[in-house]
């Protein structure tokens, strides 16, 4: 059963969301999401790398010997990450200052290698681009959600604008590393909970 092209794009939003369902790419999701803008910035950077690497991997899938496919994927991914890093340093210095040290981590981001191995090396270029784009959007969305929760609670702001009065004392731990674990843990819990509910409903509809 082949997915339609639209499904290929949208599956990464919720059904196969990299963080919430596949639990891949936690490293950047944990490290950079101290604010909404950082989450979006990291999401866009990862999406760009994901689409580019999916495209190239899909294009060369016929000529890559199976034994050395992983090193070749890594070279492809690392190349694009370095390109992102240089472009960011030159043209988006503010973002680079915030994300700089985390950008190289995209190389080891499991989503990118995961999609290269599990999808792009087996599918057409068109589908691979859609897959990369969809996964990237899903990744960006969840990073934005985590980033906004952490920024609101841990800093009392959203996109730098203070939300509460001066008496609000932010929950500092939320913008420290443990805060990322709390938010992701609770998000995973919510996803799992809604899964279970849906399964229950399905079972009940079968029974009746």
């Amino acid at each position: 059963m082949k997915r339609s092209l639209v499904q290929e794009f949208t599956k990464g939003f919720i059904d196969e969301n990299p963080i919430a369902r596949l639990v891949l790419g936690l490293c950047p999701a944990l490290a950079v999401t101290t604010s909404l803008i950082n989450g979006i910035g990291m999401g866009i950077a990862a999406t760009f790398v994901l689409v580019c690497s999916n495209t190239i991997v899909s294009m060369i899938k016929g000529v890559v010997p199976k034994k050395i496919r992983i090193p070749i994927f890594i070279v492809v991914i690392a190349t694009f990450v370095t390109i992102v890093e240089m472009v960011m340093a030159g043209f988006a210095p503010v973002l680079y200052k915030a994300l700089g040290i985390y950008v190289p981590l995209i190389v080891v981001n499991c989503i990118i290698l995961g999609r290269a191995e599990a999808f792009a090396s087996k599918n057409s270029v068109g589908r691979s681009i859609l897959d990369g784009l969809g996964m990237g959007v899903g990744f960006t969305m969840i990073l934005a959600v985590i980033g906004s929760i952490r920024e609101i609670l841990g800093d009392g702001k959203i996109l730098g604008f203070p939300l509460f009065g001066p008496d609000f004392e932010p929950v500092l731990i939320m913008i420290l590393p443990p805060g990322a674990f709390f938010v992701i843990g609770i998000l995973l819990g919510i996803f799992k909970w809604s899964d279970l509910r849906q399964e229950k409903k399905k079972l009940q509809s079968i029974v009746h």
Binding site: I68, I72, M86
Partner: protein
């Protein structure tokens, strides 16, 4: 054997292509990155030496770098101020600050260029309150006498960041020690020099 060679050649080719791609992007972005870096430094220098029109980098024979700020393009007159980089070991990073000082020893401004202190605590050294344009912590150094810079806990006038004494101290003490170096070099005056 030949299969191994084939693998090596394939990987080699991929790497060569990647290298060329990176080289190309590097060439394109190189100028821009250097420009950005210089712009950040220039802005910081202008911030800490507001009276200077022309700022020139100087390296001592020992290899220490500082900046001389001149009131006009002409560099033959005496400099109106000096800027120097101060490195202080904070709680979780080495804090790098640029300090501007006049010959009288009065600090004309500081700007923290790099720090990775704890968010919400030490990182507040760079905090700009909503509706303001500069950092409240760094602003305090303006007008202070460089050789007497110290945080309140050490009897000085700089109000330390609540809960981040180590960071506050690191900034103040690193600046003070650079000021002492400038004085030793005879570039700035101390309180006693001014009296006599």
């Amino acid at each position: 054997m030949s299969y191994t060679i084939k693998l090596a050649v394939t990987l080699g080719i991929v790497c060569i292509i990647a290298a060329f791609a990176l080289g190309g992007v590097y060439e394109i972005t190189k100028g821009r990155i250097a420009f950005e870096r210089e712009r950040v430094m220039k802005e910081a220098l202008q911030n800490v030496l507001p009276r200077a029109k022309n700022i020139i980098q100087t390296t001592t024979p020992e290899g220490k770098v500082y900046f001389r700020g001149f009131a006009a393009e002409d560099t033959s007159a005496a400099p109106v101020g000096y800027a120097i980089l101060a490195y202080g070991k904070g709680y979780s990073s080495t804090i790098q600050a640029l300090v501007g000082v006049e010959k009288s020893g009065e600090i004309t401004g500081i700007q923290i260029l790099f720090q990775q202190e704890t968010p919400g605590l030490g990182a507040k050294a760079e905090e700009v309150l909503y509706g303001e344009t500069d950092s409240w912590f760094q602003r305090q150094f303006k007008g202070a006498s460089g050789l007497e810079v110290a945080v309140d806990k050490d009897g000085g006038k700089i109000q330390s960041i609540t809960g981040a004494t180590i960071t506050s101290r690191a900034v103040a003490n690193s600046i003070k020690s650079e000021m002492e170096w400038l004085k030793k070099e005879g570039l700035i005056l101390s309180e006693s020099d001014r009296l006599y």
